[in-house]
């Protein structure tokens, strides 16, 4: 159920790395924990992120949660369309990317799908 082409963090973000680009979103486990998502606050393009930095906020009807960057780098694109329809995170979590980061440095310590599935068992 966790796509093998994505990497995962213990904070329940996923990252899809292709070359120097990384798409970032939250996992199916995370959206289930949050429940109905109603609001997404994302950063501006150009923001420099260190791995583990808060890059935004996601809110469900009942809870607020911060979004942590799985990688270091510069935000090159922000999914404004998703911010307008944040409920898509509930229905298609692994396709609902939030930001694209131009990765600088290595992207170590990420979990693969099997490791992440084990973590959320």
């Amino acid at each position: 159920m966790y796509p093998p082409d994505l990497k995962y963090t213990k904070d329940h973000e996923w990252v899809k790395i292709s070359g120097a680009q990384a798409h970032v979103g939250i996992t199916d486990y995370a959206q289930k924990q949050l429940g109905d998502i109603v609001y997404l606050e994302l950063p501006e393009v150009g923001r420099q992120l260190n791995k583990g930095d808060v890059f935004g906020t996601i809110e469900s009807v009942k809870a607020v949660s911060e979004l942590y960057s799985p990688v270091s780098g510069e935000v090159t694109e922000v999914n404004r369309g998703l911010a307008e329809k944040p409920e898509a995170v509930n229905t298609k979590p692994h396709e609902s990317w939030m930001i694209i980061v131009k990765v600088s440095g290595d992207a170590a310590d990420l979990l693969d799908a099997a490791q992440y599935a084990e973590l959320t068992k």
Binding site: G35, D36, V38, Y39, T57, E59, S60, V61
Partner: protein, 370 residues
Amino acid sequence: MPQALSGSLKKTPLNARHRASGARMVEFGGWDMPVEYSGIVDEHHAVRTRAGLFDVSHMGEIEIAGGGALAAVQHITTNDASRLAIGQAQYSALPTPEGTFVDDVLTYRLADDHYMLVVNASNIMKDFNWITAQIAGIGDAVAVNTSSRYALLAIQGPAAKDVLQTLTAIPLDSIKFYWFTTGEVAGVRATVSRTGYTGEDGFEVFVPPASAERVWDAILIAGRAAGVIPAGLGARDTLRLEASMRLYGNDIDETTTVLEADLGWTIGWKKDAFIGADVLRRQKAEGVARKLVGFEVLDRAIARHGHDVYVDGRKAGVVTSGTQTPFLKKAIGMAYVPIDRASAGSELEIDVRGRRVRAHVAPMPFYKRK
């Protein structure tokens, strides 16, 4: 929010049903309760358009009986219980001497000298001890905590009446809003009350705990064709907020007076002395400095409990409840604000995690059924 081990929490008689249905469970007021089954938005819509079934067995019941029962209830609650016929209920405050809330309650008149207060789960022992002390001097009146004798199910929504009617010989049409009667539901002796906490038509059904599962199952089966689904505390909270009903511990507590909470209509001004009457009468004459109002957020943000309210750049109040409502699809809430900013349309700013967002005072209720 850190959660206590469920083993140390109290469980309602329907706990196994919730767990079997895959509900997400949370600690609420010392109880292990379902916060959602299919999802808060889905459950919220079900209640607004069809019906939802809630387990509210965690609520407490305190009965007051004896020749002095009416005098006791009049002393400890703000509303005028002398106006209650047998079979009628009213919303009321359980006030402190300062006119603030020990709790908010529904007072049911069960018989001539027999009343029942339905109280908030987290306040049961506090209320019982308070009531016992306050009525000690009244004479022939005794308070009994009967919470363990009842399971309480609430079926709420436009389809509630027709679904429940298939399970009972009680003519439900004859029960008026805020009245109740007794009879059998699904073959179980029950007290059926036309009350609720959702802003919809609906019923609350008191049954013996041992029969709770039978009635729960029967309502869900009878309601299947009509789309009745179980609903949890999450939807209960968004529904009550749209309907502008106060939540104890959020919107009202021992620091807020009944008049500040804009619940003056629950005060029986014509009755004799009751706890807190002096303070409340003085506040009524002089006016309150702050008031609980509804607000709507104008920027894209959700204001939540505890966020500070600013007026003219200065901190002037606090949000007591706030959410994105599933039905109205707006960020709404309640807040205490200075009285000169309490009228509809008054502009406010709310600090949402360091960001100031615009809001304005909106008339309550946010939602009223047609």
